[in-house]
């Protein structure tokens, strides 16, 4: 099937032909599993984010065309849910949990420490593009509060210093 979509400037140059890109094949597979029905939007956006790390304008257009829904609806869904990111993330992610248990045990101090040291707030990436700091509402590791997820590794009982050390190792390498 020929899809005519406008490409966002300067992004995903390598994915000019979705059919040949394995990452797009993953996305297509999810849509096919759901019979290209409109209720597959969220599952498809999960697949896009898993394949590319974020969802750009090109991907939004692509999903809208394939599922035959207005772009506005795909955009609406992608921006409604916190899990989806429309901006590319850093090489590594550092998810700081700010659930109640973590908050009571000092998650705010960790965030302040990061902001003092690197000058970035949650949702932002360090200047060298190495580390993105993300805020989580609760990752359910309350027994180990305050919890931080480095890439996919959950680490409990953090202090501002342990978090800064870990981020420091990423930014220096």
């Amino acid at each position: 099937m020929e899809i005519k979509v406008e490409r966002a400037s300067g992004t995903k140059g390598e994915s000019a032909k979705p059919a040949e890109d394995r990452r797009w094949q993953m996305v297509d597979r999810v849509m096919r599993l759901h019979g290209y029905q409109s209720h597959a939007i969220i599952e498809t956006l999960h697949a896009v984010q898993e394949s590319f790390g974020y969802i750009d304008t090109y991907a939004l257009n692509y999903v809208a065309k394939k599922l035959k829904v207005p772009l506005s609806r795909v955009y609406g869904v992608a921006t409604f849910y916190h899990f989806f990111s429309l901006k590319p993330a850093g090489e590594h992610t550092c998810v700081v949990c700010k659930g109640t248990a973590c908050y009571i045990k000092g998650a705010e101090d960790i965030l302040n420490g990061i902001s003092e040291h690197y000058g970035i707030a949650p949702g932002e990436t360090t200047a060298d593009g190495k580390v993105s700091v993300v805020l989580a509402r609760c990752i359910g590791a309350c027994g180990l509060a305050p919890a931080v997820v480095y890439d996919d590794e959950v680490v409990g009982k953090n202090t501002p210093q342990t978090v800064l050390d870990k981020i420091g190792r990423w930014t220096n390498s």
């Binding site: 969220i42 599952e43 409604f80 659930g99 248990a101 359910g140 590791a141 509060a145």
Partner: protein
Amino acid sequence: MTFDELQEIADIEHEKQSCFKHQINVCIAAGCVSCQSDIVRDVLQKEVERRGLENFVKVKGVGCLGLCTAGPLLMVDGKTMYQGVTAQDASDIIDALEGSPVGRLDCSSQMPFFKRQQKIVLENCGKIDPENIEDYIAAGGYRAMHTALTTMMPSEVIEQVTKSGLRGRGGGGFPTGLKWATVTKSVNHTKYVICNADEGDPGAFMDRSVLESDPHRVIEGMVIAAYATGANHGFIYVRAEYPLAIKRLKRAISQAERMGLIGNNIFDSTCSFDIKIRLGAGAFVCGEETALMSSIEGRRGTPRPRPPFPAESGLWNYPTLINNVETFANIAPIISKGNAWFAGIGTEKSKGTKVFALAGRVKNTGLIEVPMGTMLRDIVFDIGGGIPDGGKFKAVQTGGPSGGCIPEQFLDMPVDYESLAKIGSIMGSGGMIVMDHTSCMVDVAKFFMEFCMSESCGKCIPCRVGTAQMHDILCKITEGNASKDDVLMLEDLSDLVKNSSLCGLGQSSPNPTLSTLRYFKDEYIAHIEDRNCPAGVCKIKTFSNKEVR
């Protein structure tokens, strides 16, 4: 699949397990995995193989053992428990199998944390391998489903659930039997059963632990519900933030499909049922049932007015039964042990047990299950072990952003739906956060209001605008820039938001503020009049920086 086949699987598994002289159960739920318990398990297994003991010692990954703060935990032969185990301890643990336990790792399974609990929902947690369906069947799994599907009429199943007095464990406490009966009465060829595993309350991890530790129990409950209500399709809506739970659920579903425990004509009955997983995407409001269904339909998760209730017109306008993970996990025991047994536990209006995620400033943080009606003091000081580092108890917060803060004077109150509602909190899904003198209650109220403000879906104005205004006022108070009029305004706004919001998120969002205003007004006054935060949390600017108003 027939009953005999089920029995055969159980017998084979029992025989397999009885060959081993010793069994080491390593907790591989998310809490312990984040302390590298999976590595501990692998190292133990290698050590067993290195010594050529693989026919005598079984190393098994199991679900949550409960005491998350002391992880990684492991249980040897069902009686000796070790805490804080590292890979270096593997050799000593295996040495100790034939002798006395390793003293330095000992974690007494006789302590009140374990002794005071009564486990129904969590009975398999820490005992069976969540990734192995045979282990679940050997522990008596899928028998209740067989009983229900082959020997009972749907109406009898509903009668059992109704008489048991089970109420929804997601927070609302709606009688489960009544909900099931309403769905049954709706006449339609297509009906859905949804399991709500969008555990969004910050500070709650019960559903995650159940899904990670015993996923088949939830599936079994859903199939029984499908049979009782005449539904054919099921969805489990689970948070994307729980990758381990998703992985185990997917595995459990495909194992159950392979054995014919979900699919067409289960146990040769008329019941056909399939289950699909839908991932949430980080929206707290999707825990509300109508918003959740919008999300499954692939739309923004915004709620809609009720009635019509989902039981009449839910997912794609078909009758839909929607229950919480813990509610479904209670079904199999009710069917196999009978409603009278279940109704005998708990209080007059709140039956059975409740799982709580105990966290915050308390010694023993972790997952607990206690009978309804247990005293709050027993939970915090006996099971929880009290406040660490000589701290002084200040409050316990239940029900997450929809609940309230309970002060010391109510510690001798039984925990059940009615008692909690009476003092301005709610049961909620089961998060229980203990706070001590280092927490500022105004700051806590601000924390929850900030949460509700940013999680408000924006559909109705009282919630969208009201929460933002209330958050502004709370910020003003914590900055020391508020006057007494602001508190009056806060109370007015609370009343407005509570009574005119569309869904539960908005209606309950003032609860943390209202309960702290009620029980900790002195802290508000201290911020306003003395420009002082008694707990030393809020950074109140000095007078010289203050804007002259």
